[in-house]
């Protein structure tokens, strides 16, 4: 059993963000904690942002994914534990707006072995591209962290068309943390959701926080149940590799 938490905040400025971190997660009991994406934009530089979170994670046992930040033209996220960066992930697919903003995309998408299992990250727009979940899943991801960054009015259907469906077709857990509030004149809305592959009595959502709300979302990830689902219905066993090879050459 793994206790997963996501902190959802309304962004205003760095000071409020730091206060919120103190307020909500000073004594948190979690195995993996995900902080809101785009928080890096509240800091003067990615270095300052990373330093703050490295300090925060020192002496703490949980695996920390402290949102996302921009560096060298990439939209990035990291996995930290006890003051050390274990893994860095860049966004691999750009929205049209990302492209207009001159963002670059990464060409790597790997999992990281951690104390809570194999963890991968989908940054921003990546959640809508099913190839990303498949790549992480086939590498053996147990938990995928989704950093949901959609501007404008909230649409739950749009959000479900992202990570929720990636979980269903890849049978991993996902801890999705959404950006909310205003950052640099853009307004974001989304729900933090902890997802599971559907099993008896579950709709694939272990916990959900409404858009605009603030606080910690927590859920227990039952690996036994997940493994049981995978054993009864091993989706990857039935991939039609011959067809894919013929169509794509890989």
């Amino acid at each position: 059993m793994v206790k997963a938490c996501a902190l959802q905040l309304r962004f205003e400025n760095k000071e409020k963000y730091i206060e919120d971190i103190k307020k909500y997660i000073r004594d948190i009991k979690a195995d993996i904690l995900v902080l809101p994406p785009l928080a890096g934009l509240l800091f003067s530089s990615s270095a300052e942002y990373l330093q703050f979170h490295l300090e925060f994670s020192k002496g703490k046992d949980f695996v920390l994914v402290p949102g996302s930040f921009f560096e060298d033209g990439y939209h990035k996220a990291v996995i930290m534990q006890r003051g050390r960066i274990l893994h860095t992930q860049c966004q691999t697919h750009l929205s049209a707006q990302d492209a207009r903003n001159g963002l670059k995309r990464g060409d790597e998408l790997d999992i990281c072995s951690t104390a809570v299992g194999n963890v991968g990250i989908l940054v921003g727009n990546d959640c809508f591209h099913p190839q990303t979940g498949r790549i992480l899943g086939l590498q053996g991801a147990d938990i995928v962290v989704g950093l949901y960054t959609v501007e404008g009015d909230y649409n739950r259907w749009l959000q479900l068309s992202g990570i929720w469906q990636q979980v269903q077709q890849n049978q991993f857990f996902a801890v999705e943390c959404a950006a909310n509030g205003r950052i640099r004149d853009k307004i974001y809305a989304g729900r933090s959701i902890i997802h599971n592959p559907i099993w008896e009595g579950s709709n694939g959502i272990l916990g959900e926080m409404k858009e605009g709300e603030e606080g910690v979302l927590a859920a227990v990830l039952d690996f036994e149940k997940r493994n049981e689902i995978k054993a009864v219905y091993p989706l990857y066993k039935y991939l039609n590799r011959k067809l894919y090879k013929k169509e794509w050459g890989y």
Partner: protein, 336 residues
């Protein structure tokens, strides 16, 4: 061939004799319906009932087509395993279907039964759906049937043109564990058919669990992907949301889902027939153009589709226009 096999085959040839149905269809008088401008499609929800004759089966299917024709549909889709109601022609079948056996034995028995019955149900299936297509001058995706081909079992769907002629077929590409147990073979080709109003693909049921199916369909130019289903599970909104709905969102196609529903013996199928589109092309931005109100009972869902609007939308796609071929090649070449 032993004497018993011979007797069984004579009996089946008698029970599944298509001649009475042919005569019935020849005498049938059907009203002609006018179609309005624009494309309208229909998804059927078919209640699984064991029919006692091929004519009863045909009338069940025709009744649904007639409703679609009344509403001006040019294309109609039927569900997966649409041959199952034809097993009602076998005496005592309901009792047989209620019996539980050991699972490994079940697989062998199911395979033997499907291999034996396949050629007979295929004849009735072809006669039924090619006739419906011709009578109503519609394109008919007749749903899928699990029948033998070259000594192997496939779950195959067929498309008929408005003249009743077979346009093409599609073998199921991804099996389920249950199908694997009785040795179902999967196809290794996804076809897209160029119809006058749109390019159409029709993979089968479980194929919609895999995004790869729809990605290939889209790459090959599909505008509409039809998914015939026969889901043996209790209905649940989120369980049913998996499959065609997310695939339509990812691949930017229209989706048509036709569902076999109902309970016969230990078989319980649920699902809602529906027509789906990318969120931005639906009134409520929920990806649903139209869907059956209930997951049980016969129904026909008709909906207009704007293929040009879909193609324009793809060109202006803000969210999903990007493809990272470098990434795919690097990872999938070792992970698939």
């Amino acid at each position: 061939m032993g004497l018993l096999d011979c007797v069984v085959k004579i009996f089946l040839a008698f029970k599944f004799n298509p001649k009475p149905l042919k005569r019935y269809i020849t005498r049938l008088k059907v009203k002609k319906y006018n179609r309005g401008p624009g494309l309208k499609v229909a998804a059927t929800q078919v209640e699984f009932r064991l029919h006692k004759s091929a004519i009863e089966y045909f009338e069940h299917m025709r009744y649904l087509a007639e409703r679609a024709a009344e509403e001006g549909a040019q294309l109609i889709a039927y569900p997966e395993n649409i041959h199952l109601p034809l097993y009602g022609l076998l005496p005592g079948i309901e009792k047989k279907l209620s019996m539980d056996g050991r699972k490994d034995e079940d697989g062998e028995k199911i395979r033997a039964a499907l291999m034996l019955l396949g050629p007979y149900v295929k004849d009735i299936y072809f006669l039924t759906f090619s006739s419906i297509a011709r009578i109503y001058e519609m394109y008919v995706m007749g749903g899928s049937i699990t029948v033998p081909e070259n000594g192997e079992l496939y779950n195959t769907a067929y498309l008929f043109g408005p003249d009743g002629r077979l346009i093409g077929s599609q073998k199921k590409l991804h099996a389920t564990p249950e199908e694997e147990a009785f040795g179902l073979k999967t196809g290794d080709e996804l076809a897209v058919f160029r119809l006058p109003f749109a390019n159409v693909a029709f993979p089968v049921c479980m194929d919609a669990t895999y995004y790869e199916t729809f990605e290939i369909a889209r790459k090959k130019g599909a505008d509409i992907v039809i998914i015939p289903i026969a889901n043996m599970e209790e209905y649940d909104f989120y369980r049913a949301l998996r499959g065609i709905w997310p695939r339509v969102q990812e691949s930017r196609v229209y989706g048509i889902k036709s569902a076999l529903v109902g309970r016969v013996a230990k078989f319980y199928f649920t699902g809602k027939a529906g027509v789906y589109a990318p969120l931005d092309l639906t009134e409520n931005r929920d990806g649903v153009v139209k869907e059956a109100e209930h997951y049980q009972g016969d129904d026909v869902i008709t909906a207009p589709l704007d293929i040009e609007a879909l193609r324009r939308y793809r060109l202006e796609d803000e969210l999903l226009g990007d493809r990272n071929e470098v990434l795919y090649r690097k990872y999938f070449s070792r992970l698939y």
